[in-house]
Each structure stands twice: as C-alpha cells, then as structure tokens.
Chain length 206, copies 2
C-alpha cells in the first residue's frame, strides 16, 4: 500500500480503484485529474452517479434500466409485442437497437448463470420471463446471450423452463463475422457456420 | 451518440467518460457496475471525490497535496531542509518516497512547461520556488522532471531563474535502467549513459 500525503486523496483513490478495470495507479491519475478541475465539475460527476444510484428505475416489464415505470421500448406502440429478445444486460439492448433490425420487445436477465461467479438462476429475471410468457401472447423468444459456456447454460435452462408452452425458441445466428477471413476464424465458429449454412439468396439480405 | 434508455444513466456516463483514459464504453461499464452495487457504496464513491475536491489543501511550502497547512514531509523534523527536489506532480513524490533514497524536501511544480498543452511558466509554482530559494537556506536543488523535451525546457527555465543565487543545481541520473539489455536500449539513453559514466566503485552503491 502506498503512502499518500492526504487521507482525502487516499479515500478517493480507494473508492475509484473499486471501479471495474481501474487499478490504484489509474485511480490516482483520475483523482489528480479531478483535483485540477473546478469543484463544480467534480460535483457534477459525484452528483450524477449518486443520483443515478438513488433514482434509477428498472422497467417492470423487461427489467431494462429506465427513468419511468415502463421503459420507452415497452411503451412504444410501434413495437411488435409477441417477440421477445432475451439479453444479458442493457449494453446488449443498446447494441441491438443500434442495428435497427429488431422491432420486438426485450427481456433483460441482469446476468447469465455462472457457478464460477456465484450467479444462480434465482439472481436473474428468469422467473419473470416465465410469468411474462404465461400472461402475454408471446409467439417467439430469441435467445441473444453470449456465445460462451455460461450463455449456453442459460439458454438451456430457459429452454427447459419454457418447454411445452408452445413458444418458438430461436437463437441468434453464430457464424463468421462481417469482414472475417476464414483462415483466422476459430474452428468452432467455422464448423458451426458450415453446419448452419443458409440458402444463398437469403444471405444477400442480412 | 448512443441512445441510452435513461437520462440518469446517460448523465452518469457523460460525466464518467470525462475521466482520463475512459471512453464511453468503459464509462457505461462503470455505470452499470455501480448500478449493481448498494446505493451506500455508490454514495461512498461520490462522497469521497466530492469531499476531496472541496476539502483538499496544498502544502503552502512545497505545494504537495496535504490535509494540513504544511504537509507531513515539510513538517517532519528529520528531513534535511537545505536540499529541494523539484518534481512535476505528487505521483513523483510518492515514487521517490518509495525508494527511501531521499531525505530532503520537495517542490511540486504542478506540471511542466508545455506550449502544446498551453502550460506556461506562470501556471506552475516556479515563482514560489524562486521565493523559497530566497527566504530559506537552500544548498542544492535536484531537478527530477521527466526526461522529455517539456522536462528539459522546464529544467532550463528553472536554471535561468536561479542563475547566480549560489545554489547547486543537479539533475537525476539518466541512463540504462536496472535489468535493461543494452541491445534494446534506445540510442539517446545509451549514448548519455556512456557520456555520464561513473567510477565503478560508486556504482556499487545505488
């Protein structure tokens, strides 16, 4: 532990270094950067994170972060209401919204099942998904979780939970990325992309 | 600009992305991380940086960050008071203190002269250094600024300011680092380390 010349500085560095991906050196750099700013600017940062933690709501339908009881996607009358896209967190919602290719609703799990990190099904919004499928007319659920073992485990768990409810379960396509060289694609991805090959005409309309 | 589902989140991301080395993706990751924490933990972070910005003092002698009017180094009776080590910022003080090789006092410039970044001599504590040299009995000033053009410019500026005051000006040794392979050392460093070679016995006591 370094010897800081000020307890106030030390406390700020301790707190900043708890942020993900921030070590003590970066935290010190940030603290010194803040000290060069006007106190009002630092107050803007402190106030915004404090306010966010206190005031933010989660949409009661899809569990996405929202300023309202129902988020702007769930309350949008133009969205198709019988297709749900299941994602890990809100970053995936932002990423999919940016593609402009999805007009249904989301269901944000808040994580994926991971025994290594101690995340069990009960920590996620899977029960809420099952309830949602019981009360609303859901025709299709698109699983859009990470292509990892944890993602696959969560997909499997959800598929078991929704078994026999007459809902079409689909999964986002896994294959080579746009611009990928086959030579540098890992063999699992390349193998799957051959197994899941599609009619040529279809692939012209991504 | 991404479309965030919440103004509160957007505002926190905007503020976090102003931190040095933090882009919008990292800022979003941080904000979502904070949302998973208890509000008290977020309050601890917000409170510590806000408190630091409001309450922190700078030592009136060496300009180092301090919780008191005079920092714990300047007020330490065991420190030698006639040698000053001139550094860019407090990180250098921490680094030099860690070596345990310096028992004098510091003078923190608060930056180095950089026309590119618009930092002029007047933005630094150089005048205060000159005053300090006039009022205290200073025997030696060690220049410990970065080995860059900006550092060299600042060294030169300080040396001109202190010209004729009868103070020994020294500069920290520049040469190959501990563990360096000569083959991979840049030629400027290697050239200087040959020019500034020292008697062999001396180099046994780093």
């Amino acid at each position: 532990m370094e010897q800081y010349p000020s307890k106030l500085l030390e406390s700020a560095v301790n707190e900043l270094s708890k942020l993900p991906g921030i070590g003590r050196k970066s935290a010190l750099r940030m603290a010194l950067h803040l000290l060069k700013k006007h106190p009002e600017e630092v107050e803007a940062l402190a106030g915004s994170i404090s306010m966010m933690a206190k005031e933010i709501k989660f949409c009661s339908e899809c569990h996405c972060i929202s300023d309202e009881e129902i988020c702007h996607i769930c309350s949008n009358p133009k969205r198709v209401r019988d297709i749900l896209c299941v994602v890990e967190d809100i970053r995936d919602v932002i990423a999919i919204e940016k593609t402009g290719q999805f007009i249904g609703l989301y269901h944000v799990l808040g994580g994926i099942i991971s025994p290594m990190e101690g995340i069990a099904p009960a920590d996620l919004t899977i029960e809420s998904l099952v309830t949602r499928c019981g009360t609303s007319q859901i025709r299709e659920i698109i699983l859009a979780l990470p292509a990892t073992i944890e993602g696959d485990t969560t997909n499997y768990y959800i598929s078991k939970k929704l078994d026999g409810k007459g809902i079409a379960l689909t999964i986002i396509a896994r294959g080579i990325s746009f611009g990928d060289d086959l030579e540098y694609t890992d063999e699992v991805t390349l193998g799957r992309s051959i197994l899941n090959r599609q009619p040529y005409a279809h692939s012209l309309h991504p």
